[in-house]
Amino acid sequence: MSYEQTTSKAILLLEDGTVFEGKSFGAAGTAVGEVVFTTSAVGFQETITDPSYFGQIITQTFPLTGNYGMNAADSESDRAHATGYIVREWCEQPSNFRCEETIDAFLKAQGVIGLYDIDTRALTAHLREQGTMNGVITNDMAADRAELLKMAKSFRIQQSVQAVSVTELKRYSATGERVGEVAVYDFGCLRSIIDAFNGRGYDVTLLPWNTPADQAAALAPDGIVLAGGPGNPEDCGELLPSIRALMGSGIPVMGIGLGHQLMALAVGAQVKKLPHGHRGGSQPVVDSGIGKTFVTSQNHGYAVDEGSLPKSEGEVFCRNINDKTCEGISYKKSPAFSIQFHPEAFTGTGDKHYYVGRFINMMNAGGNR
């Protein structure tokens, strides 16, 4: 049994010219993307398969990745969305009763370019100080650095929602007794959100990102969820009329992540880019409505600018405890609220899906139809 991992070299070249040299794993080749870091020590599989990482190169700050291997059941979507993956050390001999393959095998199969054996903490500190930036990973050590740098500098995440969304309507049935139906716009929806509704007796219809509002309303769902997603919300301007229509339909609407930002934009607020984003599983949020704090899981680089939210339209009820930025809005003119974070946040109420529960209450109240 050999424990030697590959010794083929690879580099990360950041758009500011900084180079980190390490070793190659996963797929071979060259990848460009926005370099971000996540501080979660567990859940690497959920991270890689989270559509909101589309177009990004993920850096894991926890040094040991892949300890428990990969399995089919835990993915947040059907594929990897990140273009590159950076770790300090990956585990060649994982140990877990559900382990099916190593992270290396998974990345190879998914075509994600990996880089390991670099000082991930130094990279994280660099991104923290200099702000999020693009970068290129390659194991082609002969590649022209100037070309790579050009590639990094010119990269923009584009068409991301289009890229991650389902292209046709998809149905997921409730587990147990059916109590209703939720229509979910797929801007990069996580499997766990669908599971959360299915588990509470709701059928879920996953809609392509550009489904017209009237088509969604025609399904007569109990509620509509605008879920997840990567990229800059301002790239999705074409969706705003449709979202306004949904919010005016009287059907309860819940926004999550990108959906939250788009709902805010739809009522006239603006978004701003955060210096290095909120990522990872330990983002503290306070809900001033119920006076509780949660530790939430997030991945976003933009936030709604609270000052720009018209007072007549909505009110911020959740804020990030550290930088006080907007994390949630309740809307005054429609039965709707939106949150910036993954709703699977533990609350002091003991309910792991407190916000899903809140939305269900809203649906039970019937909206304004």
Binding site: F37, T39, F62, S95, G348
Partner: protein, 1063 residues
Amino acid sequence: MGLRSDIKKVLVIGSGPIVIGQAAEFDYAGTQACRALKEEGLEVVLVNSNPATIMTDKAMADKIYIEPLTLDVVKKIIEIEKPDSVLSTLGGQTGLTLSMQLAKEGFLDAQGVKLLGANPETIDKAEDRQIFKDTMESIGEPCIPSQVEETVEGALAFAEEIGYPVIVRPAFTLGGTGGGIAATPEELHEIAENGLRLSPITQVLIEKCISGWKEIEFEVIRDRNGNCITVCSMENVDPVGVHTGDSIVVAPAVTLSNREYQMLRTAALNIVNALGVEGGCNCQFALYPDSFEYAVIEVNPRVSRSSALASKATGYPIAKVATKIAIGYTLDEIVNAVTGTTYACFEPAIDYIVVKFPKWPFDKFVYAKRTLGTQMKATGEVMAIGTSFEHAMMKAVRSIELGINTMNLPKLKGLTDEQIEAKLHDCDDERIFVVYEALKRGVSPDIIFDITKIDRWFLYKLLHLCQLEAELAEGELTQEKYITAKKYGFLDSTIEQLSGQKVEHPRAASYKMVDTCAAEFAAQTPYFYSTFDEANEAKEHIEQNHTGKKKVIVFGSGPIRIGQGIEFDYCSVHCVWALKEAGYEAIIANNNPETVSTDFDTSDRLYFDPLTPEDVDSVLATEQPDAVVVQFGGQTAIKLTKYLQKRGVKILGTSADSIDAAEDRERFDELLEKCGIPRPQGHTVFTAEEAIASANDLGYPVLLRPSYVLGGQNMIIAHSDADVTEYMGIILSQHIDNPVLIDKYLMGTEVEVDAICDGTDYLIPGIMEHIERAGVHSGDSISVYPARTLSPRIRETIIDYTGKLAKALDVVGLVNIQYVVYNDAVYVIEVNPRSSRTVPYISKVTGVPMVDLATKIMLGASLKSLGYGTGLYPEGDYIAVKVPVFSFEKLHDLDTQLGPEMKSTGEVLGIAKTFEEALYKGLVAAGYKMKRGGGVLLSVRSSDQQEIIPIAEKFERIGFTLYATPGTALNLNRHMVACNSVRKIGEGKPDVMDLIESGKIDYVISTSAKGRDPHRQSVQIRRKAVERSICCFTSLDTANAMADCLALGKTIDDMHFVDITKL
């Protein structure tokens, strides 16, 4: 919301003496708590019987009582001080239990005192086995099939129902005392009976044994608004079956997938909510390795050893946050002190892996049973931080001071493959090394997993270390190979040894910061660990925070072990404070997660790493200190002296040469001769033959010990050639390079002196006299300050000798000298030019801040300029009696007979205006039951027969019935002392063991010429007494003092309580 307006004056209850299961972590927690309260402008009253702690320091509280931690005493202090609140959750199980008793009796309500940190319902839900189970059931959290039993019969019946093996857990005992795993009804009978007796509420839990499941812990914090976070997850390398205090633990958990992790995290949060904890809480789970099945093992709704570890592992100050919550704050109101910009309401992210490794006392107690189970046996622990498991593990094994730098345990080399495989089945302190040896010999991880249930992940990582070793041994030592080895934690010396090649370009380590957030936010925590990356955050930190001040590194004392306890942390911390005050940058290097010294805001910078020369070398390279201090960190720091001197580092205070002069037998003899100071005659020997020859030359009894030790490690009194042979056999098998010292043993009064010297003058804060004659280790003796029985002439001689020795050794700083007064003459036994275990208590009772003065002197001040005078410091109005505390009930088969080898784990202090009252308090604080009637069992060696007579008479006069083994009984009866003769073991029933079992015996006085070996009858009698929680005296002096104390007829109601800040 913030601070509650109805809190102005808070009583903090400490955890008392250090015992196995309750150690320095509560000084760390208590100190943080006191500081957090004072920060809010609250008046703090502290009660703790342990004088070696930082928390009992004047700066820590407004009123400090070093008094017994009993219900009566705490009540009296509440009546005197009238606090409006009591903080219950920071003083370990001791503090919590006392608080609950006060609350349940209605005393707190009657006094109008609020209980902070926990309420009785919460505690009952967590600690009363049945209520706990019911609570868990009500929220759907699975428990292990179990039932509370109050009789042995009930226990046996339930075990039949759920099937063997079963675990016995007594309710409300420390560190699992009295628990165990029973595989048969016979075993259960024995364990359950013992556990029922030890449980203060006579309850044991009988539960299904789930040995082999993964053991996972979560540290949770919750505030009164129900906000909860998990600070840290931890995974025990040793699966369920080994007490978590005896397990190698990693943080965070590494073998759980997100689903398992979230499942247990959610369970932990649900539990803490259901319990309504307000503060810190530890939740322990068992997780079946091949499914999602899990069970809640235990919940501790207070700060604990695990929370101290979690705090140090993440940088998150749990005790401080728990205290703030107790006085009204919520998590979103408390700023994260590490970043200064974020809040306490977050879950720390860590970008390294932590390994905790226990320190066991078996190197010292060679006859004690090494098996690990549900009863904790470790006295201390180390923590190591690395970028990989291998890295952290390698650091941990060299921090633990077993004399090894890798996972290879030399004594296993000689075993056959079969022996190694067989040894895998022994769950003891050496198991991880046996696993490593087995992996090296090609035993597959699967086979090892089947036997040990240690997760394959850990086994693969250990196997990787084996492979790295093998690769180093092969071919050329390339730079790449070298760097890889460094990254996985190998020392240069090991690399050279394995490769047989010289390391041409040795690379110093660089440092990373522990910042609670994995670098997501900029942090200024000056808390570092070494790695072999390019970036050196410590260096950056030093440059960015350049003060222009001179820098001094203080080396800490490593893991807590018998002989090197919390006192040395006290001294290290005080040295740091004194250095800071004097305008220096003070830097700490240490590896013990339980201590105040490794709190992130104690020093200007903290290096959490091993204390080997090579590890220290890298700290020196980064820090470039102006000087270092070794004299406060016990033997761990002193051991570095030669290396530091060779490296040309300036050592503050007493020189390396002087330290050597005190420890090298021949040089020391010369020095004494020059000063005209006598010492017991003695020789230096290397072999058994030499030892026997010189023992006969000196005449028995003789004292044998290796040079360069602390705490009397491997020290015995030998009465015969056979004793010498047995001893030399043990000592030589440990491959100790240094010679063995053999001395004539003088059985006189032992006197101890700590002095501060500046090379010219000396100051003796106090002279201490031991109740027990020489022969009992000074750490195990009851020590009285000021000395009571010394004549003025003897006292003058001691002062004179102390001055001469200090000058001759050119001591700059502290020196500890032990004397024996024999036939009206003073002899020197030992000189230690460093801090000692008596420094904290003498500093507190005399008011002489010894470490502070010593530090100032080391920096160049003269003693005369410091305002405390020279010579003997005037004695105060109070008598202080230090009483040792033992952890015998946790160490099976260990002979409790006191001797030259130290056995106590902690100490308490009694302070009063009279000796009798101080002794009484000390004994009560140490846990002695003060009875005035009942039975006393006597069984003494022939040399004690004469002396036992008056002592036996005293007990008889107080009203005790005397029992004795035949020889002792005959002797007493002959001398007209009424005494019942009891059969020895094996001479028919009922015998002495049955008598002890019967409950008729309240005190045992047992001495024997031999001992140690658990098969000897005297040892069995003493062990039986321990099992039955009966006070057992093994020195006639202690028994005599007890008899005198009881004869006074006083009770705790007659005592006056002393606020030591007013001394």
